[in-house]
Amino acid sequence: MGKYQLGEFEEIVLLTVGVLFGDAYGVSIKLTIEERLHRKVSVGALQSALKRLEKKGYLSSSQGASSSKRGGRPKRYFQLTASGKNAIESAREVRNQLYSEIPKIAFNLKSIM
């Protein structure tokens, strides 16, 4: 980390946008997160995060078509930017590094006092 300040939820959102390549918009992101992580995501929280991420430069958005299913409202699609890709990668690197440095003994829970 360091250059890329990324909250836990924000990281999830970025990853999901990556997964949903080409089809990442509000509802789809929400449903995907809810499905995969088994947790409820409110539209407000998600929108807030998306706005923040876009402001930080990790995401870019574009307007999609409107459909009657949405009451005539258009969709807003998100994509990862290069900066966003770097952010995810750096986060992943840090985690991996930390994880690999945990001694085996920390997992031997029965023998710890």
Partner: protein
């Protein structure tokens, strides 16, 4: 695919708070999710979840910014509003000037009325701590029933209660001289007679806020020969020289004395109920007028007693304790007449507007009914002007629909459209307000002199009022603007441009306009009726048979200074006057009396038939006259006859009809055998009975009166022939001055003076008439413009009718029909109101003209006539244009 929407109100709420750039997308998401939930969980659950989502969307990062999203160039739009308004004004100058005139006039008049009302209500409010200062009034009760109310108390009451009971901070007594007259003679022999002299205690100038121009309040009334002048009297007596220390001789029977001027009051700035020309310390009167000291000062009650109570004193409780004390002290006296005294505290600020009660002589009083009437009338006037404005402006607003629809096509928002109307009405009202204020300021001096306001009170100083005025104007223009916008902006664009404009010309469906017009007519009719009633009452009072003839009677004020030469000299001079002047054939009779009609009586108190117990005393007025009295005034005798020339003073009395009945006599002949007793003091034989006459103005009922004999005249009455009037007047004056060189000569004709009583009514009538006149002016202006407008709408219709062969009178009937109906409705509604109000007002007069049919007919006819003229004039011009012209308008 059919979708169902989530609850609209939540959506609307969301649209309101959400930032616009995010809004469509988030809304789309919400709707999509909603569909899913609907399918899975049903409506209830879906709605509930939706609500949850909305609430969780209330995040600062998602809300719209407070400055507004599109930075509107307000400068541009206001400039546009201004331009359109100004152009509109320039284009329709007549509309603007009529409307502006109406608004300005009514604003100005309302301001004048309000100024008057506020002044009257603020009288005596300027004294320090006035909320804790009161006057003690007496009520006399017999068996629990109120017999008389009096604002006088005895000399000793004040000190007794204030020293015995707790709660009094200050007490001051005032004895106004209201029946006698004094002559003040300055060093250079200039004479000024006055009836407004007050004898006051030394603390008077501290208790009441009368700032001194010269002298100090602690010193000015400290010794018995001090005299304090008002600003005006000082100027009258001494011109520009400094009056301080100057001697002033005051002549007036037992009140004669020499004084030194010890103070001059500053010019009056605020209104007050105390009316005096100069002040003399009360010690002087007490040492010269023995009666007040009798019975330790509990004998004569002619003193106003003012007190200042401490904070948080229970006035009611205090009053009860005072009653006990007083009734105890006067127990013997009261037992004889079987009466009890009840005291009351009257706040000094209330005295001015309190209805007239016996003993108010020497005070300035205002009339609260007048004030209410003026306030209501002023409000009415404003309402008429506002109605006018709305009617005229709404007529015009219809033509503005074209402009509105154009703007809509370009893309103006509703707010901007409404803004135009509000702005215009605001500008209009502000201009009217400014003009009205100018006019008001300009008219204040003349208005002040009409209504006798001599203080420098000014409405502008009343900040609360100014605030209310501005707020009122602002609100009114807002409302009106909104209303106008409402009727012009609502319907769809295309329909507005052409044909619909025509259809709203007829008034049939437009109930609002109609009811406003009805209201206007009503007010106009009522105001005219009111004016008519006032003038009728005045006319009645002036011309009503008074029972005595007041023509050809010249009144001269009786000599006062001559008393100093001794009674014998005075009597001798009287004889001389009489003998000399009676030789002239043009002088038919001379009588010396204590009062003349219109000046009240010299004494009033309890009188009873000799033999009756004191309980049967009747409140009677007494007037002292001489033998020639009944001749000079041509009284009609019901029994007995006039006094003989040689009868002694106080030997006998003549009573009037009301007294006859009050004392319980069945017939005049019976009375002649009896005597009367005045307040347990003097017994007098009844020498004659005369028919009732209106001795005082018709505002008062006829009291029981006894006429006693006394040869000291406060007034001389001369019955003179009408020929050679000026010579006769000259003769009288020369003879008088010869015999009484030290006295001022002041004469007047009785009928002139008597009519002065109606001065306040006349003033009232004048003001009321002014109101009515303006109301009619404004209403007719409005009506005129309204008719003009509605006719211009109907041009096509009239053209067609003419082409089909309608005659002028048929057209006239058709057009004027609706105005006629409106007028009739207004008349029917106005009649009961007029009836009730007239009754109420006339109740305050003991003798009134009564409500007659012409009270309704005259105003109705007048208003109808004016309306008729308006309608005709406008119609004639329209009717005479060729139908070709009218139909060409397509």
């Amino acid at each position: 695919m059919k979708i169902s929407y989530p609850p609209q109100w939540l959506i609307r709420f969301f649209r309101w708070f959400c930032a616009p750039e995010l809004m469509p997308f988030i809304e789309g998401d919400l709707i999509e999710i909603y569909q899913q939930h609907l399918k899975d969980k049903g409506r209830w659950r879906a709605n509930w979840l939706f609500l949850g989502e909305i609430i969780k969307l209330l995040r600062p990062s998602l809300m719209r910014s407070l400055e507004g999203n599109t930075r509107l160039n307000y400068y541009g739009i206001i400039k546009h509003f201004f331009l359109v308004t100004v152009r509109g004004f320039k284009k329709e100058k007549s509309y603007v000037s009529i409307n502006l005139l109406g608004l300005t006039l009514s604003l100005c008049v309302s301001l004048l009325m309000w100024h008057y009302v506020r002044h009257e209500k603020s009288v005596d409010g300027h004294h320090h701590n006035s909320s804790n200062k009161y006057r003690i009034n007496y009520s006399y009760l017999k068996d629990g029933e109120l017999i008389t109310k009096s604002n006088h108390a005895t000399y000793a009451m004040g000190p007794m209660v204030s020293s015995t009971l707790a709660g009094f901070e200050n007490m001051v007594r005032v004895r106004p001289l209201f029946t006698d007259e004094l002559v003040a003679i300055s060093n250079d022999e200039k004479q000024f007679s006055s009836r407004s002299v007050y004898y006051v205690e030394a603390t008077f100038l501290d208790f009441f806020n009368y700032p001194l121009e010269k002298g100090t309040s602690s010193e000015a009334l400290s010794s018995p020969n001090n005299i304090v002048l008002t600003h005006e009297s000082a100027h009258k007596f001494f011109g520009d020289t400094d009056p301080m220390g100057q001697p002033l001789h005051v002549s007036g029977g037992s009140l004669t004395g020499d004084f030194i001027v010890s103070g001059v009051l500053a010019e009056e700035e605020f209104g007050t109920h105390l009316d005096f020309d100069y002040l003399i310390p009360i010690e002087f009167m007490l040492s010269h007028y023995g009666l007040y000291v009798r019975n330790d000062g509990w004998f004569w009650d002619n003193f106003f007693t003012y007190v200042e109570l401490s904070e948080n004193v229970d006035a009611g409780n205090l009053s009860i304790r005072m009653d006990t004390l007083i009734n105890q002290r006067l127990a013997d006296n009261l037992k004889a007449t079987n009466q009890t005294i009840q005291t009351g505290f009257q706040p000094i600020a209330d005295i001015y507007l309190d209805p007239f009660i016996a003993g108010d002589g020497g005070l300035k009083k205002g009339s609260p009914t007048d004030l209410t009437i003026f306030s209501i009338a002023a409000i009415f006037l404003l309402i008429i002007a506002a109605i006018n404005y709305v009617n005229l402006a709404s007529g015009r607003a219809i033509t503005k629909r074209l402009e509105v629809s154009l703007k809509k096509v370009i893309g103006a928002s509703k707010r901007q459209l409404i803004g135009q109307f509000v702005f215009e009405s605001f500008i209009f009202n502000v201009i009217a307000l400014i003009l009205g204020l100018f006019l008001f300021y300009f008219l204040i001096p003349s208005f002040n002199s009409i209504v006798r306001i001599d203080s420098s009170f000014h409405l502008i100083f009343d900040l609360k009022f100014c605030g209310m005025l501005l707020a009122g104007v602002g609100l009114a223009s807002l409302f009106i603007g909104f209303y106008l916008a409402f009727i012009s902006v609502k319907t769809g664009q295309l329909a507005l441009s052409k044909s619909n404009v025509q259809s709203s010309g007829r008034m049939k469906g437009n109930w609002l306009k109609k009811s406003l017009l009805i209201f206007q007519f009503m007010i106009a009719i009522m105001l005219v009726a009111g004016t008519w009633l006032v003038y009728q009452q005045i006319h009645f009072m002036k011309n009503h048979q008074l029972g005595i003839s007041m023509e050809q009677l010249l009144i001269v004020n009786g000599p006062i200074a001559v008393l100093e030469e001794g009674r014998d000299v005075m009597k001798m001079k009287q004889e001389t006057l009489r003998n000399e002047l009676l030789t002239y054939p043009s002088i038919e009779a001379i009588s010396g009396t204590s009062n003349v009609p219109g000046t009240g009586e010299i004494w009033y108190g309890g009188v009873r038939k000799l033999g009756d117990p004191r309980e049967k005393e009747v409140l009677t007025q007494a007037i002292l006259v001489d033998a020639a009295f009944t001749d000079a005034y041509a009284f009609e005798f019901l029994g007995g006859g006039p006094f003989h020339k040689n009868m002694a003073d106080y030997e006998a009395v003549i009573i009037n009809e009301s007294a006859l009945k009050a004392f319980g006599f069945q017939a005049p002949q019976e009375a002649l055998k009896h005597s009367v007793v005045m307040e347990n003091m003097d017994t007098l034989k009844i020498h004659g009975v005369v028919k009732d006459v209106h001795w005082n103005s018709l505002q008062e009922p006829i009291h029981p009166v006894i006429f006693g004999i006394n040869d000291y005249p406060r007034f001389y009455t001369f019955k003179i022939a009408t020929e050679n009037l000026s010579t006769t007047l000259e003769t009288i004056e020369t003879t008088y001055r010869k015999l009484y060189p030290k006295d001022a000569y002041h004469s007047f004709f009785l009928d002139d003076d008597f009519n002065q009583h109606y001065e306040s009514e006349q003033r009232f009538g004048l003001l009321f008439g002014l109101l009515a006149g303006i109301a009619i002016l404004i209403s007719s202006l409005g009506l005129f413009a309204l008719i003009a407008f509605s006719l211009s709408r109907k041009v096509k219709e009239i053209g067609i009718r003419k082409a089909l062969g309608a005659t002028a009178s048929q057209l006239f009937q058709f057009i004027s029909k609706e105005y006629f109906y409106v007028f009739m409705i207004a008349l029917v509604l106005a009649i009961p109101i007029i009836y009730i109000a007239a009754n109420r007002w006339l109740e305050s007069y003991a003798f009134s003209v009564g409500i007659r049919l012409d009270l309704f007919i005259i105003p109705a006819t007048l208003v109808a006539l004016i309306t008729f003229l308006m309608v005709t004039k406008k119609i004639l011009s329209s009717v005479h244009t060729s139908p070709v012209e009218q139909l060409r308008n397509e």
